[in-house]
């Protein structure tokens, strides 16, 4: 027995202890494959846009925007609880589900102008796109994951508040009649929220695919939305052109479709006269056009390696 062993025994040690340097270890566990890569990119993108795992400053804009979208819903629910009798006497104080979007249109525009540039421009500017394309992701699956992330994030704003109202009104007894009514309204809310989110997402993705500068892309999205609304309004209301030119209005087109989903009638007679199928065709056309721009842009994009 050595002196060291004696000392270990004196200290109560077993003499068996060892410091082990594990070094590099190979990984033998399961791998998630292409679907795992897709899912990881969606989750990471959503976390990034919401400022999660980032500094407090990066959380301000998404936090404020989401708050702006939800505050009216919370206020309306609160008013319904506190001023129940007054509201019953004057039912127009609380907007319908389709009218709610007019309260939060600014939040939707700001969010759509912020999210896609944050997710697409940053990847190209920081060289992350090169790393992604050196992974199991392809250009198509990369864009698909980004599109899902952007639509998902916009749905937080376009879908969440009406859902909150549905749940709250149902709980306080002012919701739709019976389970069937709740299910039907839930379907309308989901469809309406997605209609708004998908068009805004496709537009902002297309604009973001053309530049690496987030600010330029954000400004471009807002400019296109406002310019399309102004142009459409000038043509239809100012110049007396065909009402169908309302379909140029990228800001109001999805909101009008939402009205149709809920069975509401537009307060503007010329817009109300447009057949729903025309609106759906215009909506689909715009979405496909913006999607095609994004895909074509990325298909030939030189990746910085």
């Amino acid at each position: 027995m050595t002196a060291v062993d004696d000392r270990l025994d004196d200290a109560g040690g077993s003499g068996e202890a060892r410091i082990v340097d594990r070094g590099y270890r190979h990984y033998d566990g399961p791998r998630t494959g292409r679907w795992g890569a897709f899912r990881a990119l969606v989750v990471h993108s959503m976390q990034r846009a919401l400022g999660l795992r980032r500094s407090a400053a990066q959380k301000v804009l998404p936090g404020l925007t989401v708050a702006i979208a939800y505050v009216p819903a919370i206020v309306f629910v609160g008013m319904s609880v506190l001023l129940k009798d007054t509201l019953l006497a004057n039912a127009n104080v609380v907007p319908t589900y389709s009218e709610y979007y007019s309260f939060i249109s600014a939040a939707i525009v700001v969010f759509s102008a912020f999210v896609a540039p944050e997710l697409l421009c940053t990847d190209r500017r920081t060289g992350m796109l090169g790393l992604y394309l050196a992974s199991p992701l392809t250009r198509t699956s990369y864009l698909g994951a980004k599109a899902v992330a952007v639509v998902g994030l916009l749905a937080v704003v376009t879908l969440g508040p009406p859902l909150l109202m549905l749940v709250a009104f149902t709980l306080i007894g002012q919701g739709p009649d019976g389970p069937a009514g709740v299910v039907r309204l839930f379907g309308e809310i989901a469809l309406g929220g997605l209609v708004v989110a998908v068009l805004q997402a496709s537009l902002s993705l297309a604009v973001s695919s053309t530049t690496t500068r987030k600010a330029v892309a954000s400004a471009g999205v807002i400019l296109i939305l406002l310019a399309s609304a102004a142009l459409s309004d000038a043509l239809v209301s100012g110049a007396g052109a065909r009402p169908e030119l309302f379909c140029l209005n990228l800001l109001q087109l999805p909101f009008e479709l939402v009205r149709r989903i809920y069975g509401d009638i537009s307060p503007v007679p010329s817009v109300a006269s447009i057949p729903t199928i025309t609106l759906v065709a215009a909506y689909a056309g715009w979405t496909v056009l913006f999607g095609a721009i994004t895909w074509l842009r990325y298909r030939r994009l030189a990746v910085d390696r």
């Binding site: 990984y27 920081t126 050196a134």
Partner: protein, 312 residues
């Protein structure tokens, strides 16, 4: 063009690879083999190194020829190939506001590791590259040397079979460069991961690589084990006192290639002769000529000599 079999033991096999960009031919019938271990991909700017890496990753298809990476065709099985490859790009631009650990973990997840495994291995990889204490720092606050290590960590975190490193010592000071080269050598030996290093720094490749592929204007002008590449010009340098011409003539008569420079003769070894034969022939030629020897030494050839010799 020889067909490639999936049973080849080479990590990367390319046969008659051609890749054009409009009127420019970036790769022009390149045939090569990247064996196990650490291999250097050498060439001047525009030689086709980046294009070749793109083909290895399956990001582009060859216009002609065939390539196999880890036994698969990256043109048709790109995602499967890339899942088994780690890649560290040349550029240093990484998301500045992302913490190193978050970045490495995310890239590991994208390469197919489940969340918990990715978290653990991201920490391990950052420890291995010497950034254990710095792993929660935003990448934007790191030095160029640290960013190079982050790039290396994200390339190995998912335990790839092959790592592609594009100019991994770019922007490093001499001490950092030595550390990085030692680390790359460890990856290729201790970690058991095959490494393909794209570089234009010959001395680095010679220090850490087992093999090299040398490109010039899209063509492979030399490839093979470093030992063989530098051994191709092996021989003797002898300084003769006396009838130099006669000594040279006797050596040429023996079938050796001799270059004379004053009293100095450079005698190249012949691959078909047993090692040491040249020494005997030189000794005999000098003795028979009645000359004397001032100096006798082995001729050493660096990778740079090979590089210059093939015109790369």
């Amino acid at each position: 063009m020889g067909a490639l079999s999936s049973s080849s033991t080479a990590v990367v096999d390319g046969v008659a690879l051609t890749r054009r960009f409009g009127a420019t031919t970036a790769l022009d019938g390149a045939t090569f083999s990247v064996p196990a271990g650490v291999t250097g991909l050498l060439g001047a700017n525009g030689a086709g190194k980046t294009t070749l890496l793109g083909l290895v990753l399956g990001l582009a298809r060859p216009d002609d020829g065939e390539i196999r990476v880890l036994g698969l065709n990256p043109s048709t099985a790109g995602p499967e190939v890339r899942a088994r490859i780690g890649y560290a790009p040349e550029h240093h631009r990484l998301p500045p506001d992302t913490r190193a650990h978050d970045l490495v973990r995310h890239v590991a997840q994208v390469h197919g590791l489940p969340s918990r495994a990715a978290t653990n291995r991201a920490s391990d990889a950052l420890w291995e590259v010497g950034l254990g204490e710095e792993r929660f720092r935003p990448v934007g606050t790191m030095s160029t040397g640290q960013r190079q290590r982050v790039k290396l960590a994200q390339a190995i975190a998912h335990d790839p079979e092959l790592v592609l490193l594009d100019e991994p010592t770019d922007g490093l000071d001499p001490v950092q460069r030595d550390d990085m080269l030692a680390l790359i050598r460890r990856i290729g030996t201790e970690f058991g991961i095959h490494v393909l290093v794209s570089s234009h720094l010959l001395e680095e490749v010679e220090r850490i690589c087992d093999s090299a592929v040398i490109l010039r204007e899209g063509q492979v002008v030399a490839s093979g084990p470093i030992r063989e590449l530098t051994g191709q010009g092996r021989g003797l340098v002898v300084e003769v006192e006396g009838p130099v011409e006669e000594v040279a003539a006797r050596l040429v008569a023996c079938g050796l290639e001799v270059a004379a420079d004053g009293h100095r003769l450079t005698v190249l070894e012949r691959a078909d002769l047993p090692r040491g034969t040249v020494h005997d022939l030189v000794r005999d030629a000098i003795a028979d000529s009645g000359a004397g020897i001032r100096r006798l030494s082995d001729r050493t050839v660096s990778l740079e000599d090979v590089f210059l010799e093939v015109g790369a």
